[in-house]
């Protein structure tokens, strides 16, 4: 160390300046880290910090065989940033190069229009720079402001959504001519912006529209399984906290906290897409031939109550649920559970089952069905009119097969109000069926027996002055098919997690026993008479198979009066009668037979039952129950017993 070094005035000055510098730095550090800490952190957080939401994928809906009925996928809405071209050209200093870029971008737009299949002029329109007034308190970057102080609009949407594959092509620069042929990074047209969004898709279109339901534009489930099973389907969105760079790109290394998205569960329905298709085809035929106001067909498994198909007419396309429909909003209505009608003669199974179950009659017990009135509880009661005159007394089996109103009324009177009401309830009338809430279900109308009028005991047994939904009528017939138990109609078979593992299975659900097994078997045998040549619906018979069923033809109430021209025709049945496999209901409201005349159940509904039955035999491999069929079955099973 020299003396000059240690005593130099300049050195001292330098030292003082350095110290002062350190002091300033220290002061700034104090200010930034202690005094202004909160404000600075808030600014950094605003500029860099971001919370990214990870959308959970909504689960799929499958039919019983795994065919997709509803699924989720993404689409990309396309937009133009009309200022992007200006920005691109402004960044280029040399005029010739700028001109080259401009021409190249023009060519790219022509290619883009070609890829999208739209006129170039229509696309060019979106490239016209647009501005807007700034909103109050809007903090706009100077880069996004024009010299007049207006905000540059950088997102002008021109396409509602393209498929992922097309978007990949649109954004791949290799598909466009480039200004510089040797460029290492070919770019798509300047200003092309994509906004990805999730869409619910129904690959089967209108198939099972009323069962599957749909998601509206706000991604809210509206009806159907989409609504009922939303809890399982919707999943839980995830999120992550991280930082972003100056261009708004996430800096993955600064991720701090993360909660992964949990995709929704998938729901497997009992519905069979093939059976549903058969049913919908049949409904289309019915609609074409009879021009009804509405119609419903339901097919269910006789043993379990699982619904195999449920369709209404008119219907709608799930992918375009808000598209104009000739039937208007009626098309969205799930008639099978939301509308009620007088069940008519199909209700006769209640009085006859009840009388048999109570041991009051046997199938051979005869009633005089030519009487105009009978005495009941000491008063004379007028019996309902018949379509035919039955001169000879009819047995209970014949009352069923000939659908005698007077006979049914007498069976009802044998039971009495309280027991008839009890059996009607036991068959599921007057209360909702317990079907998963895919649509608001009505319980129908069945007044308590204490409130019945004097004539109700003669009218209710034939299905008048009561009202039921098509599904209630279907499930009531299901009581006989299942051997006397009222089953809960079910649609969901299984809930699976995102990995496809079943986490919940639904099985047969018996609500209660309505009648004994013996009564059910006797009823099934009697109902076979309906499709015999002497019965009301020989057109429903399937050769080689024991078909049991019941027709129904109800006059509709028009302006408070029973109309003679508007009818609800129905046929509800099952087969094979001694080993039921399927229950089928065909209900046609206000059909008009081509040749005119009354739309009887045997004319309008029974043939549909037969056609469907014939297809289901092959598809579901339903075996005829007869002695002759047994050896064949034995051979198919490889001779093992």
């Amino acid at each position: 160390m020299s003396r000059g070094f240690s005593s130099s005035y300049r050195i001292r000055l330098l030292a003082a300046l350095v110290l002062a510098g350190f002091g300033v730095v220290g002061g700034q550090l104090l200010r930034l880290h202690i005094f202004d800490r909160a404000a600075r952190l808030a600014e950094i957080n605003r500029a860099r910090h971001e919370v990214v939401i990870e959308r959970a994928r909504r689960g799929d809906i499958f039919d019983a065989h795994g065919d997709t009925l509803a699924t989720s996928r993404t689409k990309v809405a396309l937009a133009i940033d009309p200022w992007a071209l200006d920005d691109l050209l402004a960044a280029e200093k040399k005029e010739p190069r700028r001109e080259l870029l401009r021409l190249a971008e023009q060519e790219k737009r022509v290619t883009l229009a070609g890829l999208l299949g739209m006129p170039v002029a229509a696309l060019e329109k979106y490239y016209t720079p647009v501005t807007r007034d700034p909103r109050p308190d809007e903090n706009v970057d100077s880069h996004n402001l024009t010299s007049e102080g207006r905000v540059k609009v950088r997102f002008v949407k021109f396409n509602e959504g393209v498929e992922e594959s097309l978007y990949t092509r649109l954004t791949d620069g290799k598909n466009y001519p480039q200004a510089d042929k040797k460029t290492s990074t070919p770019t798509p047209p300047a200003g092309l912006v994509g906004a990805r969004y999730s869409v619910r898709t129904y690959p089967q279109g209108q198939l099972a529209a009323h069962v599957v339901g749909f998601i509206n534009k706000d991604e809210q489930p509206v009806t159907g399984v989409e609504s009922f099973a939303d809890f399982y389907l919707r999943g839980a969105d995830g999120w992550r906290e991280s930082d972003k760079d100056g261009r708004g790109r996430e800096l993955a290394q600064f991720r701090t906290r993360e909660a992964p998205a949990a995709d929704g569960y998938s729901v497997v329905l009992s519905l069979d897409a093939a059976v549903q298709h058969m049913v919908e085809q049949e409904l289309t035929q019915v609609a074409t031939k009879f021009q009804p106001q509405k119609a419903t067909i339901i097919v269910s498994d006789a043993h379990t109550g699982f619904i195999l198909a449920l369709a209404n007419w008119p219907t709608f396309d799930l992918n375009n649920y808000n598209a104009p429909n000739p039937a208007g909003e009626r098309a969205l209505r799930n008639v099978a559970v939301a509308d009620y009608l007088e069940p008519g003669s199909t209700f006769k199974i209640v009085a006859s089952s009840g009388a048999l179950n109570e041991g009051l009659v046997s199938p051979q017990t005869r009633f005089d069905c030519s009487l105009a009135e009978v005495m009941y509880n000491g008063k004379s009661r007028a019996l309902p009119k018949e379509d035919h005159v039955f001169a000879a007394p009819l047995s209970v089996a014949e009352i069923i097969s000939h659908s005698s109103n007077k006979g049914a009324a007498q069976l009802g009177m044998l039971l009495g109000e309280e027991r008839l009401y009890g059996y009607a309830r036991a068959f599921g009338f007057g209360e909702t069926t317990g079907l998963p809430r895919i649509y608001p279900e009505t319980p129908g109308l069945l007044a308590n027996w204490k409130k019945w009028s004097g004539s109700d005991i003669t009218r209710i047994p034939m299905g008048h002055t009561v009202a039921a939904t098509p599904l209630q009528i279907h499930m009531a017939m299901g009581v006989i098919a299942s051997g006397g138990e009222l089953l809960r109609p079910q649609l969901v078979r299984e809930v699976r997690d995102a990995a496809g593992v079943a986490i919940y299975n639904f099985g047969r659900d018996v609500r209660h026993r309505a009648i004994s097994e013996t009564t059910a078997r006797t009823m099934a045998q009697m109902l076979m008479g309906v499709v015999s040549s002497e019965g009301t619906a020989p057109d429903a018979a399937i050769p080689g198979f024991e078909v049991a069923g019941k027709t129904g033809t109800t006059q509709k109430l028009v302006d408070g009066q029973y109309s003679s021209t508007h009818h609800v025709a129905s046929f509800v049945g099952f087969f094979p009668a001694s080993r039921p496999a399927v229950v089928i209901s065909v209900i046609v409201d206000d059909g008009h037979p081509p040749g005119g005349g009354t739309a009887y159940g045997r004319l309008v509904a029974a043939p549909s039952f037969k056609r469907l039955g014939e297809q289901l035999i092959s598809y579901l491999d339903i075996k005829p129950v007869s002695a002759s069929a047994t050896p064949g079955l034995f051979a198919l099973e490889g001779g093992r017993r």
């Binding site: 992922e164 089967q204 198939l207 050769p543 198979f545 039955g613 297809q615 064949g632 034995f634 051979a635």
Partner: protein
């Protein structure tokens, strides 16, 4: 002199310590920066892979939807018409249910062929095979 030497030694030691400190601090700093760089690069790579995975999943969803749409009943019926395949759904009236036991039916059919090789007589052809094959029937 001795004091001066000691002072110099201390200064040298301090200088050495400072150099070591600065050196090790630098190395540590570089190490930290390098590690952070690696973390950033790995995170970026993971992010790129995640994006590719997401893109693949999106493409898969689109493909699955398209496949399902092509396999729906209306689509298959349309193809049936377009390609003139002439396929019709199977219905019960098209099925001939055989009342006889399958074993006897097959045996009869096969035996009839065998027997006609030997005897052209119709009565023998009908009666003989059933007797011949009856012995081959599996025991029940």
């Amino acid at each position: 002199m001795k004091t001066l030497t000691k002072t110099r030694a201390a200064a040298s030691l301090s200088l050495l310590a400072a150099v070591v400190l600065i050196g090790s601090g630098g190395v540590t700093g570089v190490g930290i920066v390098w590690a952070r760089q690696q973390i950033a690069a790995t995170a970026s790579r993971a992010q790129v892979l995640k994006k590719r995975l997401d893109q693949a999943e999106r493409s898969l969803a689109e493909l699955n939807t398209a496949l399902t749409a092509e396999q729906t009943a209306p689509a298959l019926e349309r193809r049936n018409v377009e390609w003139q395949l002439g396929l019709v759904p199977l219905r019960e009236p098209q099925v001939v249910r055989v009342a006889a036991a399958d074993e006897q039916l097959f045996a009869g059919r096969r035996g009839r062929g065998l027997f006609t090789d030997f005897t052209p007589a119709a009565n023998l052809a009908l009666s003989a095979p059933s007797a011949r094959f009856a012995v081959n029937l599996p025991r029940r």
